[in-house]
Assembly symmetry: C2
Homo-oligomer: 442 residues x 2
C-alpha cells in the first residue's frame, strides 16, 4: 500500500471507529455465536494473489463483529496460525484444524515462546518421572534437569533456563556455527552417566550472529529417542520458509515438539507478533493450567474452545491476528514470497560487492538477508570502521563475534529497501574504509 | 475527546504517519542525542488541568523524533512512570528521577509484574544465602523457598509460583477477605521452624473477587523484619490512588519492594499497560541480566541509561508510554480524578438500589467501582439469575465465590458509563429477578 492509498484507507478506518463508538449502544454486549463459528466464514487457506482492500475491510462486519472481541480474537488467531502453518508446509500435526491435537498461538516475542516451551518440557518430564516414581519430589527432579542449546543461541534461551530454574548447557557448533547431532549426543550421554536428566533442546534456525542453521534432521531423531523436548527457534529465518526454495532449511521440523518464528521480523507484520506452534497442546496447557471461577465459561471442557491464557505468560490478550489476516490478504502468498526473495537477492548483491573488494572478507555463508563481513585485518580496525559508519548516521549496523573475530553485519530487512540503497550503503562503507586504511602506517 | 474531534484528530494523525513515511529518507537513521536528553524537555509533573490537543501533538516532533524509537521509548517511559508515581504519591525511593535507585517500568499485564517480582525476590534470597553459605546450591535453596499470597489473590500469583518453581502458600483472610498480619506471621513462623525459607509475600489491594484490601501497614513491617520481598498487586484498585481520598488505601506501600497496577484497567489507557515500580532496580536487573555483544551499547555501564530488557520477560518493547503521555495531558490530573470519582459514585448508587430491595443483599463492602451482591437464597437461584441476565445480552456480569456463596459482581468501568446506564441495568436485573422468583414454588 503506497502512502496515497494509506491516507485514504486510514481515514476510512478512523471513521469506522468513530461510527462504532457512536452506535455502540445498538450492539449486543455479548456475542451470540457458537464455538468455532468463525472458521466456516473464511477460506481454509491464504489467497495466492492479493485481494482488494474493500473486500478485506468488508469482512470486519461479516466475520469479526458477530464474534466481538471474544471469541473472534481467539478463533481468528487459531485459523490464521493454521493458514501460516500451511504456508510454511508445517506437518499437519502442528495444526489445530477442527480435530487436531496441536495448534498455533501468537506470543509477544521469541523470548516468551522459548520460555513457554521450556516450562512445558519441564512439567512434562516431571509428570513422566513421577508417574513411575511417585516419591520423587519436583524440586529434586528440577535439580537434575539439563537443557541444551547452541553456543550461538540467542541470549533469551539462556535466560529461559534461569527463569525456569534449570541448568542450560551450550552445545559447541561446527565451523559453520551449526550444532551437529554428534555434539549434542556426546553431552547428553555424559550428563546421563553423571545422573542428570537431559530433557530439552532448543535448536536455532538462523542464529542471531550469522544466520546459521542447526542440523535438525540429525538432532530431531536424537531428541525423540532421548525423550527430550525439541523446540526450534527460527525467530528471523522462519518467514523465509514460505518460499519453497527455502523450505528445505526447515526439514526435520517433523521431529520437533514446538516451533516459533517472529512474523514481526520479516513478514511485513508490525511488532509484536511471534508465532508458535506445538504438536501436543495438552503439553503446553499442562504447564500451568488453572481455572478460577471468574474465568470459567460454558464451553470450558467441550474441547471446542481454545483457552490461550493457558498457552502464555500474560493472562490478557490483544487482537494481534487481525494484523496477520490483513497482511496475508493484502499481499497474498505471492506478494509475501516476492518480498522475501527480493530481500535475499539484495543481500546476495551486497555479498557480491564485498567479495569483489579484496580488502574485505565474507565471514559466514549468506543464506538469507544477512551478510557477515569484515576488513581483512585486526578486530580493532573493524571496530573503528563500525564506529565511524554508525557515527555518520547514514546507515546503522550491529556487530557480532564469530570465532573470536569482530564482524560487521549488513541486514536487509526494511519493507522499502531497494537496490540503490544497498549500492549507496556499500559506497558509503568503502569510502569510510578507504579513509581509515589510508590513515594506517604502512 | 468526543467522536467529532476524534474524526478530525485521527485523520490528522493518519496524514502525519503518511508524511513521515514519504520523507523518511531525509531523517537520520540513528538519533543524535545524549542519554537523559528527554527529561529536560518536558515538565516534571503531570498537568493538573487538560492541555490542548494541538500542544500535545506538536511535542512529537520536539520531544520524540529527535530521540527516534530509542532512546525516546525508554526515556519517556521512565519519566511517565515518575509522573504517575507522583500522582499516586509513591514514596520517593520508588522513583527514578536522575539519581534514584528505584524506578518504574511498563509491563504487559499484572501476571508479568508478579512473575518479575517473584523472580527478583528468588534471586535476591539465593544471593543473600550464598553470600554466607557459598556451598549451598541454588536448587537446594529453591527446594526450601516459600512464597505467600492471600487466599483471595488472583490465579496469576499462584501461576508465578509454578513458573518460578517455588512453593506458593495461601494465607487465610478475615471476614472482610483481607490478610491480616497475624495470619501471615503464624505461617511464616511455622515454616521457618520446619526448616523452610519464607522469601516473598504478594499482597493484594483490591482483590478480583470482591475488591478487598490486605492490611499492608501490618504486613509490610513484618515482611521487612523477616527479610521477605513484599510485592503489592493493585491491578484494578491502583488507578484510584490518584484521588487523595482513596490514597490511604495504599498506606504501607513504603514497606514494599515492588508495586504494580494496571493503568489499562481504570486509567483510560488502552490495553496493555501494566505499571510497576521497584525500590531497588538492581534487584530486578539482577534476576537475569545478560549482555551479548549484539545488544551492547556505548552507555552500558554509565548508569545514565535504563536497559528495560533486564526488567521484563520479553526482550523487544513497544512504545507504550506514548499512551500515558497523551492521556495524562489530554485529561490532566483533575480529569482523571473526575473519572475515578464518577465511577465510584455510580457504584455507590447501584449499591443503594440493591440495599433498597429487600430481596437482595450486598456481600462485600463497596469501596471502589465493584458491587458484590446476590438474591437472598440459594446459590442455584443466583446462578440461574446470572445465566438469565447474561443470556439476554443487555448487560454482562462475571460471578465470584465469597465464603461459599455464589455472588454476582456489578463493575462500573467503561469510559462512557452514565447514571442512566446504571439505573437501566438495575431495572433489568430486578425484572429478571421478579420473573425468576415468581416461578419458584411458594
Amino acid at each position: 500500500m503506497n502512502t496515497t492509498e494509506f491516507r485514504k484507507r486510514g481515514k476510512e478506518m478512523i471513521d469506522y471507529v468513530a461510527d462504532y463508538i457512536e452506535t455502540i449502544e445498538q450492539r449486543s454486549v455479548y456475542p451470540d455465536v457458537q464455538p468455532g463459528y468463525l472458521r466456516s466464514l473464511i477460506p481454509e487457506e491464504v489467497p495466492v494473489e492479493p485481494e482488494m482492500y474493500e473486500d478485506v475491510v468488508k469482512d470486519i462486519e461479516r466475520v469479526i463483529m458477530p464474534g466481538a472481541a471474544s471469541p473472534a480474537c481467539t478463533e481468528l488467531e487459531t485459523v490464521m496460525l493454521d493458514w501460516l502453518g500451511k504456508m510454511i508446509n508445517l506437518p499437519e500435526n502442528f495444526l489445530a484444524g477442527t480435530t487436531g491435537c496441536g495448534g498455533g498461538v501468537i506470543q509477544g516475542t521469541a523470548s516468551e515462546a522459548t520460555l513457554m516451551s521450556l516450562l512445558a518440557a519441564r512439567s512434562r518430564i516431571v509428570r513422566w518421572i513421577q508417574a513411575d516414581n511417585p516419591d520423587r519430589t519436583e524440586s529434586e527432579i528440577f535439580s537434575k534437569l539439563v537443557a541444551y542449546s547452541s553456543d550461538q543461541a540467542h541470549s533469551s534461551v539462556e535466560r529461559a533456563g534461569l527463569i525456569g530454574g534449570v541448568t542450560m548447557k551450550k552445545v559447541p557448533t561446527d565451523e559453520k556455527f551449526s550444532v551437529q547431532g554428534e555434539a549434542l549426543k556426546k553431552m547428553v550421554e555424559r550428563d546421563r552417566r553423571a545422573g542428570l536428566i537431559p530433557f530439552y533442546f532448543c535448536a536455532t534456525l538462523g542464529t542471531t550472529a550469522s544466520c546459521a542453521f542447526d542440523n535438525i534432521i540429525e538432532l530431531g531423531p536424537l531428541c525423540n529417542a532421548a525423550k527430550m523436548w525439541m523446540h526450534i527457534d527460527a525467530a528471523y529465518a522462519g518467514s523465509a520458509f514460505i518460499c519453497p526454495e527455502f523450505r528445505p532449511l526447515l526439514n526435520g521440523v517433523e521431529f520437533a515438539d514446538s516451533f516459533n518464528f517472529n512474523a514481526h521480523k520479516w513478514l511485513l507484520v508490525n511488532f509484536d507478533c511471534s508465532v508458535m506452534w506445538v504438536k501436543e497442546r495438552a503439553d503446553i496447557i499442562g504447564a500451568f493450567k488453572m481455572d478460577p471461577l471468574y474465568l470459567k465459561h460454558d464451553h470450558q471442557e467441550s474441547g471446542l474452545v481454545t483457552d490461550y491464557r493457558h498457552w502464555q505468560i500474560p493472562l490478557g490478550r490483544r487482537f494481534r491476528s487481525l494484523k496477520l489476516w490483513f497482511v496475508f490478504r493484502l499481499y497474498g502468498l505471492r506478494g509475501l514470497q516476492d518480498h522475501i526473495r527480493k530481500q535475499v537477492l539484495l543481500a546476495k548483491e551486497f555479498e557480491k560487492m564485498v567479495r569483489d573488494d579484496q580488502r574485505f572478507e565474507i565471514c559466514a555463508e549468506v543464506i538469507l538477508g544477512l551478510v557477515c563481513f569484515r576488513l581483512k585485518g585486526s578486530n580493532e580496525l573493524n571496530e573503528t570502521l563500525l564506529k565511524r559508519i554508525n557515527s555518520t548516521r547514514k546507515i546503522h549496523m550491529v556487530p557480532c563475534q564469530l570465532s573470536g573475530k569482530f564482524v560487521l553485519r549488513f541486514a536487509v530487512c526494511a519493507r522499502t529497501t531497494e537496490l540503490h540503497h544497498v549500492r549507496e550503503s556499500w559506497a558509503h562503507i568503502t569510502d569510510l574504509a578507504s579513509e581509515l586504511l589510508q590513515e594506517l602506517p604502512h
